[in-house]
Symmetry: C2
Subunit: 258 residues, 2 copies
């Protein structure tokens, strides 16, 4: 059972609970990439100027993400400190009773949202690496899979806020001077543990191998072809997920004493 941050009161926030959530979110990210890889690139999903027979404004994927966020806002998704919309303007208020999330994050720092960067990274860098060339016409399903990938990546990267908070509480004497000096480089140095990052990259690569294999009852090794290249998942973490998480951590910490 995932150790869910929403049940963690401010006092209970620990590096262990944050770590467990990050590890569990790795599985979700690998699952969503595998599901997206079932479809080819399907470029009309991303066409900003669709044909005249289409009455959407903007691309299909923008429509699906925007409209899904409007629906999810109605059930309170974005009142959770773990969730961040890609299209935050004009979201409706929740129709459901408010959920009392424990006040874990420092209020002045809670507003960081780098989904614009995540959107560009996903569509410009990541997707072309793992989606096969081609067009099978399933644009709606493709957009739905993209949405799931984006949501999983956004959640993981913005979880940096919880990482930063727990690190700050563990060692305010280390972080305080760099925060007061608004020294990004010093904060980045304090937050960087290369051996841990290498371990995470190896673990997500192993997860891509494990979850992306063809499971058969036949025990002898057949030609192993993974549904998503494990090296790409490792690269996703090394080049984008972990650097962007650290960027979120730095942005959070810079506001932590405001």
């Amino acid at each position: 059972m995932e150790n869910n941050i929403n049940k963690i009161s401010s006092d209970e926030l620990s590096l262990e609970s944050v770590r467990e959530s990050l590890i569990s979110q790795e599985d979700t990210i690998v699952f969503t990439l595998i599901e997206r890889a079932k479809f080819p690139f399907n470029s009309p999903t991303y066409d900003d100027d669709p044909s005249s027979s289409c009455v959407l404004s903007g691309s299909l994927v923008q429509f699906i993400v925007k409209e899904t966020e409007i629906l999810h806002a109605k059930v309170g998704r974005y009142t959770s400190p773990e969730e961040h919309p890609f299209f935050p303007d004009d979201l409706p208020p929740p129709l459901t009773p408010p959920h009392n999330y424990p006040q874990v994050l420092y209020p002045a720092a809670a507003s960081v949202n780098i989904n614009d960067t995540i959107w560009k990274m996903y569509f410009d860098k990541l997707l072309p690496l793992f989606a096969a060339d081609g067009d099978d016409g399933n644009y709606g399903s493709t957009a739905e899979c993209d949405l799931k990938c984006l949501q999983a990546l956004s959640r993981r990267i913005h979880y940096g806020k919880f990482v930063a908070e727990v690190k700050f509480r563990d060692a305010p004497e280390d972080y305080g001077p760099a925060i007061r000096a608004q020294d990004r480089d010093a904060l980045m140095k304090l937050l960087t543990f290369e051996s841990v990052e290498e371990m995470v990259k190896s673990r997500v690569e192993k997860k891509a191998m494990t979850f992306g294999q063809e499971v058969t009852l036949n025990d002898k090794e057949e030609k192993v072809k993974y549904k998503v290249d494990p090296a790409i998942v490792s690269r996703l973490y090394g080049e984008w997920v972990m650097p962007l998480t650290k960027f979120v951590q730095v942005e959070y910490l810079l506001r932590r004493l405001s």
Copy 2:
């Protein structure tokens, strides 16, 4: 790469392409169950008579499924012969250009929709088996996970239409007499291969073990605790998925010569 039925013309429909899709859909079903299992049962998600501070009519999960189907209808999801809504009444027409799905299914038989049965099976039988007791307040996320499970199960079970079509084309001389006699029992007998069903149950159990394990870099076996009990996934297929798929097949075949 999944052999996608939408790209299969009527002539290319084969038992092999149908089998590949069914196998790929097993992965999706196991992934969605694992994601749902991250949350406890969260009974307020299913409360038909929510508190007065909630303005939804019906339960939260009904709201999420209904509203998501309305959104997905706008991008043409239910024009696909593989997709079936849980709330088919009053769905809006697509805003996107029509996709020319190959006419694979026999038109008079294509209308079968047993989502009411799948809904009851999921909430009354399956969910209580694998969701842990408890309430962590994440009702929106829980409903979203339920939606994904329902969609994956519905797609898999209604895929019986393609299974039935391919079997009928392979041996019209075997199926014709039973169809003309409208003999359900004879059709069920023709469609049942117990050794294949046992194999499928074993395979999905193995998938639940593979995809639901805790992947660590540590190679020595730790206490293995799966995220969803593999025996429950096997039971899901044996008691519900395969019997309901065969029910869909029989319903389809009964109309196949109309």
